[in-house]
Symmetry: C2
């Protein structure tokens, strides 16, 4: 089953207003949820929406919270998100980073006490639409052991990098685990093995078996020790720049709420876009590994899915869609 | 065999002056080469020194080149490195990014037409010593296929992130390939297999055999498709911000010269360092995977090696040391 973008957005809007959102804020959050599904990130679009509404009802997300600037230092600001909806605050923070970049060449906003931003790529697309390079990161609840250990202490801590490009921006949206929890589940439900090692089994051996990784709670970070280090650094960066919660504190509270984020923009409207073009074209001159394979730049798949879903409607999980209609 | 830091630095200084460096510039570059060996990064310390001298003699590195600022836009500058020694220009660029950060809260310098910076971590340590968070990246010659292809089109493009911390800064210095060429060679010479998959063999199967990866020229990026995307993004970032050479152009010229780099600093002298402390301590509460294993933060191993080598002298490859003495 497929629904149109407008239909999905309108339903989200209706539900958000019903749980206390202002019309304006509901419109922004409904648009982002619908865009996430439209762009193929279903896990952080429709499929996440009921969870989001429950978090509002449970009081983890303050629908009327308004982020405040705690401190300004030139082109850097530190904000408190006041537990407002994460997508709202992230949009405002990136907007401000864009404004700072227009004035100073670059600008950054660190936000403490904010909430899940859903798809990090959203704010990368926002930055490039304003002619900026955007880089942002968030921390999360712990879901991976650090390299050399067996218990989860590191967050998935997605990192986003986006560069404007006329024919389709480059947008990298990359979590620190090799496979997300949702992806592991997807493989397990289909009874398939992973294409590459995704974690350790209970004997401490690397494995492609998603069930074994679920049982051990030992998914691996990208690049093993390297992603382990990068995940830790991103937590240090977002938490210490914002003065906010660390992965440790978020995990101790048991709910992925009150997280720390960082948004950086660099003015890029005078960049020579032929350079990006050349880099993409060069990558594409490499011999594909098989007839079906092709080299894609970050963001290319998103744009293709967006165009398809705009034309054909957004595919939905009918059960979840019915659930939202009933909210 | 071990030599003292001073002895190593003095030899480097002597040789650099003999190939045309000013005393001052020789002192800076000699110090960085000696520090790299002292910190355990032998591949970019003593072991690289004869190659560097050869590149000077071959005219790829202009010993008297002086980087120039092409453009200033608030807290962002664009420089041309004039093919000066890469460590010299990188030090000056990070120094300027620090200065911009002190004024504007954050600052950045993009440099085109510069040369190999040897160990990227050097400039991370430089930033933290000045009370700044430092982030920098460089492009390189192509050494890995993009995901889905079989021919090298991506650079190793190291990414450095450094955060000040009294008891030892956090410094991540991470190339995009799972194993460096030198590391693969080291395993092959010892007839050992890699601890995790490091590339594809000639049949397109993932392998831990370093010789098979050498034969196929298909090392894998960290996180497979993820690191492939990140490597491409870093090339876009450094080349388009600096208006400099891409991995494609560097590779076409056949010599790793005239590369593009980016240096970003954020003023961090008022950050609450207890936050980093908490993150490190939390990671260390995880059960180690074996009796020998331990969780380390990025930079911890470097500092330990530095202290040991300061005490005991820096271990050297005698053949290369003799070669340097004879230069």
């Amino acid at each position: 089953m497929r629904v149109t973008f407008e239909e999905m957005k309108d339903q989200f809007q209706r539900v958000l207003v019903s749980v206390g959102f202002s019309e304006e804020r509901a419109a922004l959050c409904a648009r982002i949820f619908a865009e996430n599904s439209r762009d193929g990130v279903y896990s952080h679009g429709l499929n996440r929406f009921p969870v989001f509404v429950q978090m509002v009802r449970d009081g983890h997300i303050h629908v009327k919270g308004e982020p405040v600037c705690l401190e300004q230092n030139g082109a850097v600001e530190r904000w408190d998100g006041q537990l407002a909806p994460g997508m709202y605050t992230a949009t405002r923070a990136m907007e401000r980073a864009i404004g700072l970049a227009k004035t100073h060449g670059l600008g950054a906003v660190a936000v403490r006490n904010t909430n899940h931003w859903m798809r990090g790529g959203t704010y990368g697309w926002q930055a490039v639409a304003a002619g900026c390079i955007g880089i942002c990161a968030t921390n999360t609840i712990a879901n991976m052991p650090p390299w050399g250990a067996t218990e989860p202490r590191l967050g998935n801590n997605p990192l986003v990098m986006a560069v404007p490009r006329q024919e389709g921006p480059l947008v990298l949206d990359m979590a620190m685990s090799q496979f997300s929890f949702g992806k592991l589940q997807e493989y397990e439900l289909k009874n398939k093995t992973l294409p590459v090692d995704g974690g350790f089994d209970q004997n401490g051996e690397l494995t492609k078996d998603p069930a074994a990784i679920r049982e051990s709670s030992r998914p691996v970070p990208i690049g093993y020790w390297k992603g382990s280090g990068l995940s830790l650094m991103l937590d240090v960066l977002v938490a210490s720049l914002s003065g906010g919660r660390t992965v440790a504190q978020i995990t101790a509270e048991g709910t992925e709420a009150g997280v720390s984020q960082f948004f950086l923009c660099i003015k890029a409207d005078t960049l020579d876009q032929r350079i990006s073009e050349e880099i993409i074209e060069y990558a594409r001159t490499a011999q594909p590994e098989s007839e079906d394979a092709s080299v894609r730049y970050p963001g290319e798949g998103t744009l293709a899915t967006r165009r398809q879903n705009e034309k054909e409607g957004i595919p939905v999980n009918e059960e979840i869609w019915q659930q939202v209609l009933g909210l």
